[in-house]
Amino acid sequence: MRDHVAASGTRTARANGPLGKGAQRTFWRDMARSFRRNPAGMVGLILVLVFLVAAAWGEVATPAGTNRTHLASRLRAPSAQHLLGTDGQGRDILNRVLAGAPLALAVGVLSVAGGALIGCTLGLIAGYYQGKVGAVIMRVVDALLAFPTLLLALAIMATLGAGLTNVMIAVGFSTLPRFARMMQAEVLTISGREFVTAARSIGAPVRAILVRHVLPNALSSVLVMATLYVSTAILAEATLDFLGLGPQPPTPSWGSMINDGSSVLQLAPWVVLFPGLAITLTVLGFSLVGDGLRDALDTRLRER
């Protein structure tokens, strides 16, 4: 009961105490306050912000020679001149890691937004209409889920060809069935609850039940999953790049930098380590924010 009333955001209450006089308590303000109190979530937020700054930096301030080969300074260990060392072609790894950030951001956010939007709509419909419509949607989703993410992405890449936009389409499409499945499971659970039965018994139209009662209660799971899937998308992109299907060289994508480094792993582990660290920290940031959002959105946890 609690969440769908609160989540609609239409009912607010004057708060007394810590918020001070006149501040209005809404669901989203409470959530933000709860999120700020979560240290792990805040660490995640900082990591995400650092990543966004790096992406902006990489987009506008990459030095001209970032992708130029300097054979004389091959495989230099990290030093004052090259903070993260140089790769097998003498290129500065720090500059290339920064230049790779906007690519990761574009793939992560755009592909998941597309996958979540279409997937959740399908899941919502399939979960509520459990008859033929639901069965047909879920069988198609199952058929798509039967593909390992990477396999589906690879098959699509084979159709579309290598490149950044195609990686985004492939990654977004491969997250779609997962959103649909999660949403359908959420709807199955929620639509069995008393308040949905109550809404149905007073004759509320299906659309209103889905939008006002079911969706807000499933929202925390969608937000958490979307945040988590931004990281999955960045990982999937890195993997496709690692296999040589991403943007063509010398574009500095993190996955292809690791692929380059794997051949000199024994001599120069930093070539693999630093782009890898960039992936790990970015993914970690989005995961922590996802966790923080989950706790902040769940009023039952918040009350404790």
Binding site: L150, G192, F242, L243, L281
Partner: protein
């Protein structure tokens, strides 16, 4: 019983649907497999002869029907790139991937479920924090990076494990070669399972009947064992079922990085060189495995949470 039969029928339909998707994705791909196969030696006569030989000159619907017929009878034809019978190629690599998948699943469950339970039951303590840091690092680290770092540290530096290959055939040697790939593959999924276990258990622990159970004086252990764990198992089973597919896809990466033969590596190579007969047959094998596992997990939901038997 009727439900199980109905689910089985649905599973078969799913395999059919997925095969249809596979066929069309692969055949609508721009680029001529024969041209790619022949490379620089391609002459128009040679291309048309080979196209005829493999049936690629026939209309798409005819190829589709032939494809379905051959799949049902297990006649997958000759591999374009390996110049050998597809069934033979797959059989030679199958055992390596089965070994790897089972080992990685064991790693997943052994690390993931206890880690998630500790985190949920000791919420907001140092144990929760440590468990979730491990889980988060597992989720955040790409499998191929973990694999490369383990190779650098444990193989190059310390010399504990072999760098490449799948072993000489003896049990000890095979296991020795299996450990690093299984950990690289399973660690990622164990982190996912740990997160799911934590959130599932936390969600159940917030339910009213748990409060009732506590109120009537049950010990924490009894509350968790009798009331919380079973409903929490449903999402965990779902993730394990879903992850099996991811694991098969990821197996290819582990196989490539560790230089192991296997179905995943074979499939990635087959897709890259557009070896249709081989990739279609491999996808069929993967699909049957994944859909079979999903069928089993779907059936297990009912045992874990009897309320779902009637939903």
């Amino acid at each position: 019983m009727n439900q199980i039969v109905a689910r089985l029928a649905q599973a078969v339909l799913t395999v059919f649907g997925a095969l249809t998707i596979v066929f069309f994705i692969l055949h609508l791909t721009p680029g001529d497999p024969v041209q790619i196969m022949l490379g620089d030696y391609a002459t128009p006569e040679l291309i048309s002869a080979l196209r005829q030989h493999y049936g690629l000159d026939r209309p798409l619907p005819v190829q589709y029907v032939t494809f379905l017929k051959n799949t049902v009878t297990g006649n997958f034809g000759m591999s374009l790139s390996q110049k050998s019978d597809v069934t033979v190629v797959i059989r030679s690599a199958m055992s390596y991937t089965v070994e790897l998948a089972i080992a990685a699943m064991i790693v997943t469950c052994v690390i993931g479920i206890p880690l998630g339970m500790i985190a949920a039951l000791k919420r907001n303590t140092a144990a929760d924090f440590a468990a979730m840091v491990i889980a988060l690092l597992g989720v955040a680290t790409p499998g191929f990076l973990l694999a490369l770092l383990m190779i650098y540290l444990l193989s190059y530096r310390l010399g504990w494990f072999p760098v490449q290959g799948a072993g000489s055939g003896g049990l000890g040697s095979n296991l020795h070669h299996l450990i690093l790939p299984a950990v690289a593959l399973g660690f990622e999924s164990s982190a996912l399972v740990a997160r799911t276990t934590r959130s599932a258990l936390l969600a159940v622990l917030g339910e009213d009947y748990i409060r009732t159970a506590r109120a009537k004086g049950l010990s924490s252990r009894a509350v968790v064992q009798t009331h919380a764990l079973r409903p929490a198992l449903v999402p965990i089973l779902a993730v394990l079922g879903l992850y099996f597919g991811q694991l098969l896809g990821g197996a290819g990466i582990a196989e490539i990085v560790f230089g192991r033969p296997g179905l995943g590596k074979l499939l990635i190579d087959a897709i890259l060189v557009r070896d249709y007969p081989l990739s279609q047959a491999l996808i069929f094998v993967f699909l049957v495995a994944v859909i079979g596992v999903n069928f089993v997990t779907d059936t297990l939901y009912g045992f874990a949470d009897p309320r779902l038997r009637w939903s």
